[in-house]
Amino acid sequence: MKKGLLAVLMVALVPIQTTVLEHVSIGGIRPDLCLIVVCLVGVMFGEVHGMFLGLALGFVQDIFSAGELWLNMVAKGMIGFLAGFVSRHLANATPGAMLTLILALSFLSGLVFLVVERAGAGLLDALLGVRLLVLPQAAFDAAVGTGVYWLVAGRTRRADVLSGRRISLR
């Protein structure tokens, strides 16, 4: 079932991201569903699952993106790992904590893109990139991710996460 869910995520998430999500964009910014799912999987199932799902989803994202073929893969893999790693040290996975975590991770992912994609640009362009893309993207991801977490994670799962017990995918 859980492996089936992973397969569904792999097949459906990127098509949804590329087709339907433009209807919920604000100021041209769409939430990054893959990043949100990778964060949540990292938090709920641990850093290894987060990282591998991140690598896989990032790679699929790269296939349908104009950027380099490794950028999303590496960024999402790193985000999945960090989400799991940080959540291990979270005392309480409250919505506030999730909001902060996804905000920070999305911001970090944005900075990776900024460094790679705008390496030759000046400081002003970089700051403009932070203001126009990185910050709005992080805020949007954090808001949507926290909402999804609250909806998806049941009381039992939250209790599991809080008590430090990881949910196994096997």
Binding site: P15, G28, F59, I63, F64, S65, A66
Partner: protein, 286 residues
């Protein structure tokens, strides 16, 4: 002996680190490997993308067509299309007029090229917000390859950066990573057109002595691959000329309305005009 969980985890990490190191140390080989791995995945996923796009389009059309003032919307869309078509024709005529003024009779038609094109539908946007790109429902099977130019009747849209069997990704002219050589139609000065973070385009390296004005049309120069000469890119909205600079630059308003992109033409080849008489090949339009 059974391997412990932490041992398995360590092996996985080591493998991953090795892969990533290979990708960084051997970027060319790594990219090729990733491309080979990604090709069947792209083929597989192009079907759900097209299905989602079709579903999305039909829902949008139903909503817009039947609920939100159907007739007005339809008429509006038709008129927009007509305006874009007429703009394209007007631009073509203007370009012809300029050419006829400048060139001798023999050069008039020989220099003009007609591209062979493949029509494609826009089925999605780039998967990240970092690139202004669109996904098309045509790929290598239809003759689409990387670096080919993409246009609408209004003007230049962008260039293909990735192509799988059934889909391709196009980087729009408004993306900062895209660069096309442009030509100011009135003054015949050349420059490089790049996208900006704000979603417009900027023409750089315009000669200092150029008499460029706000409102001048910028077209493709035909020097970079993918586009023939004379495809409209945009209209100059403002000019920046600072003391001490060696060149001028100008901000452009793109000719194509990228928020309304539905159908585009991929330029699969630029042929001299006298070769076109035999008619287009199967599956192509011209």
């Amino acid at each position: 002996m059974l391997r412990s969980a932490s041992g398995t985890k360590r092996v996985k990490f080591l493998l991953l680190a090795l892969l990533l190191t290979l990708a960084v140390v051997l970027p060319k080989q790594g990219r090729q490997l990733l491309q080979e791995i990604g090709a069947p995945i792209a083929d597989l996923l192009s079907f759900p993308i097209q299905a989602f796009a079709a579903l999305d389009r039909s829902i949008s059309e139903t909503w817009a067509g039947y609920i939100a003032l159907r007739q007005v919307h339809e008429e509006n869309r038709r008129l927009r299309g007509e305006i874009q078509l007429l703009r394209g024709r007007q631009n073509e005529l203007r370009e012809l007029a300029y050419a006829s003024q400048r060139l001798a009779t023999l050069l008039q038609l020989k220099e003009r090229t007609i591209p062979s094109t493949v029509a494609a539908n826009v089925v999605g946007l780039d998967t990240t917000n970092w690139y202004r790109g669109v996904v098309l429902d045509k790929g290598q099977r239809d003759g689409v390859r990387a670096e080919m130019g993409v246009i609408t009747v209004a003007g230049a849209v962008g260039r293909v950066v990735k192509a799988s069997q059934f889909a391709s990704v196009v980087l729009l002219v408004t993306d900062p990573n895209n660069a096309v050589t442009g030509l100011i139609q009135r003054t015949r000065d050349e420059g490089i057109v790049e996208g900006t973070l704000g979603g417009r385009a900027r023409m750089k390296y315009i000669p200092l002595l150029s008499t460029v004005q706000v409102g001048d049309a910028v077209v493709t120069s035909g020097l970079t691959g993918g586009f023939p000469k004379g495809i409209r890119i945009g209209t100059i909205a403002s000019i920046q000329k600072e003391e001490g600079d060696l060149f001028q630059s100008a901000e452009l308003i793109p000719e194509v309305d990228f928020s309304q992109l539905e159908e585009v033409l991929v330029i699969t080849g630029v042929r001299p005009i006298e070769e076109v008489d035999t008619g287009p090949a199967i599956g192509e339009t011209s």
